[in-house]
């Protein structure tokens, strides 16, 4: 579904990712693991078109490498970004409405809103509340729900557990497992390798802008390289 070949990502003159390749198959959950500064978020930014990049980004057979951010989103890519980036000056419902900005049919939009509110009951309770007043976990749920409102073909989740209490992290991963069970294609970027590998069908380990290991979750989970990269202990 999503093929990335020889991707180089740049932040100004600095090259953050050095020629990585990866593949995400339809209906699978693929995890991108690695420590801080490994280039995981840069990879997500390149897929969405926010960061400048070279290399091939092919989505459902279509080359998106030179397409605008908006065209990539319209093609069916949605992102729940690192740090959540919910619109704190808007209500929960307004955030979701913006998530479905490309959905022209008001009836369908209302159906989607009801659907995701049923999956995220806490958001339904706070629908008219300013999003900035939500807790960290609720904001993460909102960021995911906002992305899902676009009816994406692939969901990019960037560090969904970042900064959350362990209990909330479990809830978020249960939610991602639920989405996976519903057939959603997911590219999950995480530092929390233990949780991510429980969900992932396949995983890539990044370090210093390169993929240093990849394999099934089982294989990678047993690899010494994973612990070495994530903990810095060889």
């Amino acid at each position: 579904m999503l093929t990335i070949q020889d991707l180089h990502v740049f932040h100004g003159p600095i090259e953050a990712v050095h020629g990585i390749s990866l593949e995400v198959e339809k209906g699978k959950c693929i995890s991108l693991l690695g420590p801080n500064g490994a280039g995981k978020t840069s990879t997500i930014s390149a897929i969405t078109g926010i960061a400048r990049s070279t290399g091939l980004i092919r989505f459902e057979g279509r080359d998106l490498s030179r397409e605008s951010v908006e065209a990539r989103i319209a093609a069916g890519i949605a992102v729940s970004p690192e740090g959540r980036r919910i619109f704190s000056n808007l209500t929960v419902l307004e955030n979701l409405t913006l998530g479905a900005a490309l959905q022209k049919d008001a009836v369908e939009k209302a159906k989607d809103t009801d659907h995701w509110f049923s999956l995220f009951p806490i958001l339904a309770e706070r629908r008219d509340q300013s999003a900035g007043t939500l807790s960290g976990g609720e904001q993460q749920m909102l960021a995911i729900a906002r992305a899902l409102m676009a009816r994406p073909k692939i969901l990019l989740l960037d560090e969904p557990s970042l900064g959350l209490a362990p209990k909330i992290v479990r809830q978020i991963f249960d939610l991602i497992a639920d989405l996976k069970a519903r057939g959603m294609t997911i590219l999950l970027v995480e530092q929390n390798a233990t949780q991510a590998l429980k969900l992932a069908d396949y995983a890539y380990l990044m370090s210093s802008g390169r993929i240093v290991a990849h394999g099934t979750a089982d294989d990678l989970g047993k690899s010494d390289k994973l612990m070495a990269e994530l903990t810095g202990v060889a």
Binding site: E70, A74, L90
Partner: protein
């Protein structure tokens, strides 16, 4: 009683004009971080459009007013496309200098190709007559101006709260990149902000022209300066702040005009700005400034 009502209405109409203009500045600033000092020239474009209609012997006030507003909207859109879009990703200082540059270029174009002298516009005199409400005589222009501003603020509020594009404009003031990640085209959000800004300038132009009765190349300078002050007082980047700042500035101006002795009549602006300075000592970022993470600077 009539005197008090008249002064309240004065304050409301002054404030309404400042609020209209301040909203025009604030909506662009909230998205681009740009103080569009060429906003005054957009008002002047509206004024010169009225002159053009007069020279074509089109005197129907509805056509003249609609034409002026449309011209201001078109001018605002054109400036966004030609002058501000190329510097959108540049440093805020570049945007500010561009705005000053555009303002100077337009003023000189008016000077060179129209006239350096004021040109009378008489088609709006019909807006100004004396009306009597509950036994109190009031100036109709002030009533129209206040009502128009209230209607515009309500309409703008509905647009910003009830439409996807309006929500995008509000969201963009916080995180423009994230708005793009919802699939909304960046150019549409900027264009709609400048279009609204032009609409507000056009409406303000009608009332400025009805009061002044003439247009010159520097028509917009003073109103925009006042609108800038209103934005600063209300909190730059906050749309409710712009409205509050506008009405507050109007109220302070009228209060100074009424309260200062005649011998200090020429010092009105000095007293007004002294009060503005005191407000800024109390709230340095403006009364309703959006919350900003200050980090280690505090």
């Amino acid at each position: 009683m009539e005197y008090i009502v008249q002064q309240v209405l004065n304050a409301l109409s002054f404030g309404a004009e400042y609020a209209l203009l301040a909203l025009g500045l604030a909506i662009v600033f909230s998205i681009m971080g740009l103080v569009n000092f060429a906003h005054g020239e957009i008002i002047a474009v509206g004024g010169y459009t009225m002159v053009a209609f007069a020279s074509l012997a089109i005197g129907n006030p509805m056509i003249v007013m609609a034409g002026a507003v449309l011209a201001a909207m078109l001018a605002s859109l054109t400036l966004e496309r030609v002058a501000f879009r190329p510097v959108r990703k540049a440093d805020p200082t570049t945007g500010l200098l561009t705005a000053f540059g555009v303002s100077i270029v337009l003023q000189n174009l008016f000077l060179l190709f129209v006239s350096p002298r004021p040109i009378a516009v008489t088609s709006l005199y019909f807006l100004d007559w004396s009306i009597e409400i509950a036994g109190i005589r009031l100036a109709s222009l002030q009533v129209f101006e206040t009502l128009t501003t209230i209607i515009v603020i309500i309409a703008l509020m509905l647009f910003l709260r009830r439409t996807v594009l309006g929500l995008a404009v509000r969201a963009a003031s916080l995180d423009f990149e994230m708005v793009r990640l919802t699939g909304i085209r960046a150019n549409r959000v900027f264009a709609i902000a400048f279009l609204i800004s032009g609409l507000l300038a056009g409406l303000a132009c009608i009332f400025i022209m009805a009061r002044r009765g003439s247009v010159d190349p520097h028509l917009g300078f003073e109103p925009v300066l006042k609108a800038f002050v209103a934005c600063v007082v209300g909190g730059f980047g906050s749309l409710p702040g712009a409205v509050l700042g506008g009405f507050l500035l109007g109220a302070v101006e009228v209060a100074m005009l009424v309260m200062l002795p005649q011998s200090l009549g020429g010092m009105t602006d000095a007293f007004v700005f002294m009060i503005v300075a005191m407000i800024l000592i109390w709230r340095p970022d403006g009364i309703l400034s959006p919350a900003v993470e200050k980090g280690d600077k505090l």
